[in-house]
Amino acid sequence: MSGSLVCVGTGMTLGAHISPICRSYIEHADVVFSLMSNGVVERWVEEMHSDVRSLQPYYCEGKNRNNTYNEMVAAILTEVRAGKKVIAAFYGHPGVFACVAHRAIAKAQSEDFPAHMEPGISAEDCLFADLNIDPGKTGCLHFETSQFMFFQRRIDPAAHLILWQVGLAGDKSLTKFSTGKAYKQVLVDLLSETYPLDHQVILYQAKVLPIDTMRAEKITLAELITADIYQHTTLVIPPSEKMQPNQNIVERLAKLDKQLTTDKIQPKLFLVE
């Protein structure tokens, strides 16, 4: 018996988002690992299979989360190596702002085990639907909040800026479960280099249980410091400026269009002997 791994997404809302193929993989597994964002959702997954093992106990405040993620990968791989048909189920999409599935699949494949990912409906998908945002309209930048703070990134104020895990903003140690006002102040200072402090931003939380209400709280950028922000809160910053035409490129393209039109109008000439 050869082991295998499939990482599946259960979507964001219990019952509403899981795809038939993801559910089928869970139901037909030898062993299921689950990493859910809510205890009730975890219980729902446990009822799909007799051997569902939560990855939640690996988390521990004060412990580096990179170690936590590597331990989760090790637990998953142990069963793959034992020849089991392993399914790792993650809330939302298993590969969007989620490193465990990517690491586990890479590790399994490096050891020649078949491994792949099945997508799920992510928090990002819910955000676009709930907030009526089309990321194609003016463009959309996504960053993990702390990474956005640690590295020099280019913000485009004409596009949407979406910052994930804002509740953990500025946690360099990867050991905290939340960060306080002083850390949010640093984030606001960074953002205020591009946006006015009275710019309206949105605190977003997708619906997890069917009885939940989606959160789309509009506040000013300055109010972010004292706002109620949780692990699952996402910060959405709408554009503060209009898109500016790239005149140089527009002119070059116009010249190309003109040249093509001229070439079409002029008949091709042939030498007649």
Partner: protein, 87 residues
Amino acid sequence: MTQIIELLEKMGQDASLQNESKLATLIESIELPENIERAILTNDSEELAQDLNTRPNIFCGVFPAEDDEPTEGDDEKESEIKFLKHG
């Protein structure tokens, strides 16, 4: 337990149950503990989680700001080092 989870799943899947009166009719038709029924009808997810005795401390965040996994650039550096060692 199964009955409650099944109900929640159905609520997530059935468009007709997005209507409050139809949901109330369905809930009346099945025998649920009073506290669970109240939690569902008042949309109180914290109460529901407590009543179902689910795991209390759930962490959600599966992405590190700085990855300890080697990046592609690191791989290149590693292979350069190996090449130099063998070269």
